[in-house]
Structures are given as structure tokens and as C-alpha cells.
Assembly symmetry: C2
Homo-oligomer: 579 residues x 2
Amino acid sequence: MLQSKLIGDTKKEWPSEAVIKSHGLLLKGGYIKQMASGIYTLMPLAKKVVAKIENIIREEMNKIGAQEILMPLVATRKLWDIAGRYESVGSELLRFKDRTDTEMVLSMTHEEATVFTLLNEGATYTKYPFTVYQIQTKFRDEARPRAGLIRVREFTMKDAYSFHTSKESLDEEYDKFFNAYMNIYKRVGIPEVIPVYSDTGMMGGSGAHEYMLLCDAGEDKIVVCNNCNYSANMEVAYTDDIEAFSKVEENQEKIYTKDITTIDELQQTLNIDKRGIGKAVIYERLDTNETIIVFIRADRDVNETKLRNLLKIDDEDLVPKKQEENSSIVYGFVGPIGIDAKNTTVVYDISLKNEKSLVFGANEKDYHIKGVSMSRDLKDVTYHDVSKILESDACPICNKHELKISNGIEVGNIFKLGSKYTKAFNMTYLDENGKISTPIMGCYGIGVGRLMASIVEARATDKAMNWPVSIAPFDIHICAIDYTKSQDIKEKADEIYSKLQELGYDVLLDDRNKSAGVKFADSDLVGAPVRVVVSPRNIESNMFEIKVQGKEEATLVKEDELYEYIKDSINRLKEEVEA
Amino acid sequence: MLQSKLIGDTKKEWPSEAVIKSHGLLLKGGYIKQMASGIYTLMPLAKKVVAKIENIIREEMNKIGAQEILMPLVATRKLWDIAGRYESVGSELLRFKDRTDTEMVLSMTHEEATVFTLLNEGATYTKYPFTVYQIQTKFRDEARPRAGLIRVREFTMKDAYSFHTSKESLDEEYDKFFNAYMNIYKRVGIPEVIPVYSDTGMMGGSGAHEYMLLCDAGEDKIVVCNNCNYSANMEVAYTDDIEAFSKVEENQEKIYTKDITTIDELQQTLNIDKRGIGKAVIYERLDTNETIIVFIRADRDVNETKLRNLLKIDDEDLVPKKQEENSSIVYGFVGPIGIDAKNTTVVYDISLKNEKSLVFGANEKDYHIKGVSMSRDLKDVTYHDVSKILESDACPICNKHELKISNGIEVGNIFKLGSKYTKAFNMTYLDENGKISTPIMGCYGIGVGRLMASIVEARATDKAMNWPVSIAPFDIHICAIDYTKSQDIKEKADEIYSKLQELGYDVLLDDRNKSAGVKFADSDLVGAPVRVVVSPRNIESNMFEIKVQGKEEATLVKEDELYEYIKDSINRLKEEVEA
């Protein structure tokens, strides 16, 4: 198309609201327009990219036999009550009433809707397994939408749901999705995405992976072992082997530590390593008003996801406890010895397990206790893994100390869901022996807009989009310098434009009355894999400058070699992506 | 695909909730599943049909240079306040609050969103005209969702918006859409759709067409002239020439009509034609609490759309007035002579204009007045067209009396919107002379799900879908009788299935363990344009029964002619649709 007609004006300046690259470039390039907090319009360039991404996803889903359906965004409270999520999900589930005062929600996921839709589809075992998917609008009322398309409220998602009569069948389907997802990331130009073990949380599933693009803009923390490639979300990453720091038992001794209420102060005052101190982290759970005290070695932090899973606490119900007047808790001096545990859950992290001589609070103002031996002084304690892994920890798989913690963007997830929803909806089938059984499910998601933004994070520079040929908004961008001033340029550019379109390429021709500088800057933002420059400098010798993605330098090509050169270049780029 | 795997079980019985054909067949055939009132899931068959319809729409939109975007469903009240529609639209606009108590809506249309999105796109006249479209989810909280996909609450719509610097440019674009829409209806298999003049209502536009599929299931009333092809929605249909019934003036005479409060009784008692009576129709407008009395000839009914437009009353604010105690209105005896018009708007319909001797109520219990001459007795009256056209009326274009009123389903609309929204948003551009001007807009809609249902209404029988080849869920349906019992049948059916897929067709193979009767009934519901029957009766002679859409009889074809025959048949069907 002619660039003078393209909707989506570019901006000269970096948008001040954008902190990360994809947010800034998508705004600057006229790809997106913010309509409200976390709510965006996709402009023509973005819509073209997204449509191509969706088609790749669709192809990979169809290839593994998933059938496309379309479920509604708006659902009744009644539907969401059946598995209890109307109550259990926090305020990210948007609830409202329709004109008849019926309670409704905007669906943020479709487990309930899928089971309801397919309730009578799998009446006998012969129909199984089956899988449906949709590419559809979701709404999630995020407390803090951020980073452009990375964390939004309204978004398009590919979500798939599979139904099975056995764990083996679910495992098989899970593997199919595992591979289909890797294909998708490769085909959209980010083969570096890695699958990591992830939290199955309150969903009650039996296994889950998240697909992570490692990059600074990510808000997830990912642990990767450089030796064996073990990778996991921090939420679930673990180590089997925390070496004890205090290996020799000592006698308990109460010490006077006036006003020493922090680990740092204690460490300095006593001149010991943090590993020699046990700390108390104090939470409140809002659903029961109970206090939760976690004892953990002071060099480590509490992994709240692990803690929530252990105690079965919803996301929003676990909060740090604020210091209260007249509390039985002696803030700054809390320890396991002699603690008043009324209406309190006490959790001991595994990091303490083998310690023979720790410093803990004495539950008395201005006092600590030295020489606490866990095995000697706290005999009946059960230990749980509720701590965040450290880079210095041993890999749980290969035991090497080569863990690295990176930021990552989650660009997809797959999940062995089990029978939570089929049970709740009383979905059943007759098995081979005529027995009534409950199918089990898997669920599989990819956020389309976030995937596009992640591709930008991975591939773009601060100025240039660098779309892979598989999803670029245009295959070829013709930058015609002086198009509006030089008849020669116009004629030649028009001719090349027509010929390339006849060859089946999607071509953008910059026919605008703009300077070369503006044209090149905008061309970087369009990010087509091939750029053809028609310029006064080279037109007399009938030469054209062609810049192909991935090549450092532009090449001057004669007119009679132009089309062959472009064809070869694009084919090679396609092979690279699809290989 | 294999039919044993297809999600969307067919039902044996006609669904009891379905009154119209499309609703019943789509449910019976496993195309749709109701999730809530007016909210449906599209199952795989429907999703396939809808995807093909959307692609046809997309092609026709791209062909006329419209650029695809994607705007969000959720919008802020703030956006909807700018042109006043947050207040003016009734409760079909679903309003709610998000987690931060911000007032939001579910968009039922996107004029506001489009103007906001493109506010800075058309800064100078050189950028114009430009047009965007989207194929996107909408929500309209209908008071009475009905008839399956005909009137729903959540739906997918193609909506387009064009921007212009002159009326001529808008007219040109309007014509492009006019033709593109006719192409779309032809390509999806309902070339009989007609454009009719329609109401521009409160939108303030200068011209509008609706595209109507005439059929009994329609809820709109359409007037078509069999002589000149004038066609219009009843809401706007008019006649220029209502012949006066009472042509001779008589003296006024008050007559005693005890308890005669209806037109029928009056007509019988006085033994006169309805045309000799003037009636009063009494409304209340809820926004101002005013009473509205419409005087109209008794053979005609009030067209409430015309009345609302005349008095600028919102849809929901005009209601029939209930009879009240102690009212100054003498119900059953209301007439224009001596009426107490306090806090009352009186409207005279044009049907009265030339009448010389009418019977009217006397505004006194049990009395009417005979011999009312409009020109003599009600001199200062202005007449307005607020009546429904009758089949007996003269066509406003050719003046022939050949009008016919039919039911129709609206399957699209195009609308010259003017500057209502660009003005409200202060969208401006610099014209050729550097003057700041306001662009004008057109808007253009097609509901995708309703279009699919309308195609069923137009083309299906009570048992068979009969999809056009352009949008059928499968090109070819192989009904293999005894597939699970006869190895010969299975091998041959599998072979044909593979070969047809290799030829590029989308093929459904009925591999189920079902009777021939069930297979044929289900095949009718799938509605593929070509059906191949592999049956024990014919397989020994290597013959296959092929039923091609539009042909009365099936044909027996030998194996070596099979593929050529199918190819020719499908090509011919394609030509018929695309011609």
C-alpha cells in the first residue's frame, strides 16, 4: 500500500510514558493507541502483525487436531459459581449486573465455559480425547496494567482445553502442545523462548510449564541451570541441598540486644554471617485473620507462592502483617523458642533444618538467643520449602552450582488441569466397562498481544522493529527519496512497487513528501525484512540499495537483478524462520 | 476431518425453544450452544462458516481500501460522555464499574472509539479520505434477545468508519460500500438481499440504507414497490398522496355516543368507513412527562419512529399513556375541537389534511362531533407525516398502487453520519486554504452471526443447511455406509478421503458406527455442497452416488470419473456464487 494512506502516524519523540522497548516502539511506530488504562486499539500495522501471529497459532493448533470454537466474553455468575471461582477469584475478575440485575462477569479464562459448552459431547470413551481452542477476547481487571501490551486488561488470547479418559492420554496431548508451542515461538521469530516448570498453584493440576522469553523487561524471575538446562519459575524453583552454616552445637545463651530489630544491625553487632541468624517473617491471612510466622535462615527470602500453596491461601489473602499495638508479637525479637502461637500458624523453612547454632529473637524486647540448635531445641518441627532459590544454590537436577536467575516474560503456558472443572460440572462418560467416569483436562494459553510485544523486546533495537518475515506487516518497504519531487524516482518506484506486488509480495511504498531521514526512521519502525531505496544518487546508474534483515550492510543491486535478489533474500529469511 | 472426532453433536429432535428455522437448525446441527440469554458459543462447524464469512467481508473491505484495526470492547464512560451517548442511550448500553470504581461500558458500537483513536491521524486535508474497519466483539444488552443468532447480546460485527473533507467524498465512499455490501451478500449466497432506505433517526445523518433479507423470520417491516422497486424500511416509508375520503364539507354536529369508546364500535354504530373517522393516539414522553396526542385518520396507525424523530424523543422515552383518574383527557372521546392542551403536544398526521367531514371525539364523555372539516375548523394546524404506510398507498416514486409490505432481517447498514462525532471530539484538519475544518463521517455495519443465521433462513430447508460453497464448513461430505462394519467400504472411503484432501478440498468423512438414516440426516445438517455416498449397494460395481447442491437427483459416478466430476461440480458452484 501507499504509505501516504497508512493509518497510524509515527511520533518523532520517544513516548514519555514508555519504560520498556516494546511499549515505546509500538507507540512511536503508530501500532497501538491507548484508550484507557490497560486498554488499547491495534492500529493497522499491529493488526496485520497480530493476524499473522494468530494464523501461525491457528495452523499449529489445527495440526495437532484441536478444533476452533468461539466462546463468549460475557458469562453468568451462575457459571462461575459452579467451580467456586466467582467467590475465590479476586477483583481481577470483573463482576457486573446486566439490565435484568443478573450477576455477570467478563471472562478472564474459559475453563467453566468450555466444560459447560462440551458437557454432553463426550458421553462415551470412544469420543476421547478431544481438544478445542479459541482465539478470543478476554478481560482481566489488573490492579496495575503496565508496560504497554505486556500487562493489559483487555486482550486476545488463544486458549485451548483438552479432555481425556486417562493420565497417559493427557500426557500425550500435553507433549503435543509442548512441541506445538515451541514451533509457534520459532515461527514468530523468537526460538529462544524456553519452557520452565511453573506453579500449579490453587488450580490443583499435576504439572505445568510456562514459556519464558528471558529479557530485562520481564516481570517473572526464572532460574536456569547453565550446566544441565534445568529451568523453572522462581515460584517453584527449589534446591535439595542447602548446606548447613552452623555445624557445631553450642549452648543457648540469651543476649541483650537493645534496639537491634533488623537482621543487618544484628549481623553487625554480633559480627556474624547472615546464615548464622534465623529470622521471622510475619504475615496475616485475610480470609481467616490468622497470623502466619515463617522462620527462615536470614540469608534467604520467603517465596510467597510456595507459602500460599502450602497453606492454601488465595493470592490476595496473604499480606505482610502490620505492627500492632498491644500485640503478643514482640516485633524485632520474634523467635521460635517460647513463642506464643495463639491463633498463629508457624512455618519452618527447610533452610533451618540442619542448623546447629543460630541466633533467633527471644520473644522479649531487646533480647535474642544465641546457640539455638534446631534438632536439639525444636524437636517436633516439620520443615517446608517456602524459600526463594538463590543463584548460589545447587541445581536440583545436576547439583552443580551454576544457577542463574533472569527476568522473563511469560509468553504461554500449558497445564495439566485434572478433574477440578469436570467434577464440579458433573461431566461424565461411560468407560469401556460401562462405568460412569469423570474426564480429566489440560489447558493451554498464549496471549497474542503480549506475544507481539515480546517479539519486539527480543528482536527490536531502540529504533528498529526488525520483524521476522513470517509476521512482518509488510514483506518489502520501498523508500522512494524525493518521490514527490522527481518524476524519474516516482516512475521507477511505482514500477518496482507494481512488479513486486505482482510477484505476490505485500509491499509498502513510501510516497510521502518527507525527507530521507524521516523516511528511514519510519522505515525502521515499520520493520519490513527487506528495504529497497530508490534514490536520486543511484537511479541514474539504475541501481537500488537493498537492505536485507540480518545483513550488516545494504547492497547495491542493478535493476535486472533486483527481483531475483529480493526473492532469494526473502526465501532465505523464510527458511531461517521456518527451519 | 473424521466425523467421529467432530465436536458438536447433532440432536435428534427439533429444539423446542426454536421458533425460526435458523435457530432450530443451528442448535440441531450442533453449530451453536446457548450460554446465557442472547449469548452463544460457536461450535466448530459454526466457527468454520463464520471464519469464511469474515474472510469474504475482509476481502471486500480491503478491496475498497479500508484498513483493518481492532478497537477494545470495554470503554470508559468518559469516552461515551463526549458525544452525550452515555446519557442518551438506553439500558441496552451496558454500564459497569471497574475495580477502581471508574465507570465503564461494553461498547455496542464504536463511533466514539474510532474518532478518539484517529483524532490526530487526519491533520491535513491531504490524508483524506480514509476508512478503517474491524471485525470485533460487541455487547448490546437487548431487552428481549430472541431467535437464536438473529437478536443476541454478545456478537461479532464488522464495523467500518470513513472520514472525509467533503460531502462528495462521503458520497463516493458510500457508493463503494453500497457495492461492496452487495458483493458480500452475493458471495455468501444470498444475492436476493435488497438495500432499502432507512431511518437516520437521532444519529443526525443525512442518508442511510439497510440491507434486508426478506423472509418471514424477519422482525423488520419492509415496503417494496412491485412496479418501480422503491424499497424502504417501514420506519421511513412514506407516500405523497393520501386520497381524501370525505370530500364534501358538512355542518358540525355533536352526537350522543354512549359508551362508544373504540373505533370499531363507532364505525358500527354510525355505519361509516374507518376513513371517515379521526382517532387520537395518546403517548407520554418519559423525559419531560409531557403528554403527546396524535390525531390521525382511523384507518392508519402511528409510525412511532417518525413520531420520535419529529419530536426528538429517545427510543425508550416514548410510551403509550395509561389512562389516569382525574385526567383532563376524556379517554375514548378525545378530539381536536376544544381540547385542553395544557402540558400536551398535539400532532396532526398528514392523513387528515384534506378531509372535509370527519367524526372526532368531542372531549366530553359519551359525545363525538360529526362533520369536522380540517381546513374550515382547524385552520392553524401543521401536518406531519407520522403514519405507517399501507399496502394500498401509492408508491412515492412511481405513484402506482403496487406496494407490498414484507418481513425482513436487517443484514447490514450504511449510514452518512455527518459531523456529529468529529464535532463532539473536536477533530479537525487544515484544508487547502489552511483553514481549520471538521471532517465528516460515514459508518457501515454488518453483524456476522446474524448474517450466518440469515443465510440459513434464506437457503435451508427444515432439515438441510444447503450452505453455499463459499462458506460451507466442508466442501465435500463422504457418507460411508457401514464404514465400521465393511473393510471394503472403509478402504475405499479412506482412499477417496485422502485423494480429495490431496486435491485441496476440505473433506468430512463420516466414519461413525451409525445407520445410513442417521448419516444422511446429519449430512443434511452439515450441508456441504457435495455429498459422496460410499455404500455396500454400489461399491461392487465401483460406483459412487454423488449429490451436488442444486441438483434434484444424485448421480451414480464410476471411480475413474469421480474426481473430475467433483472438481467440475465444485467449480460450477463456485462460479455461480462468485459470478
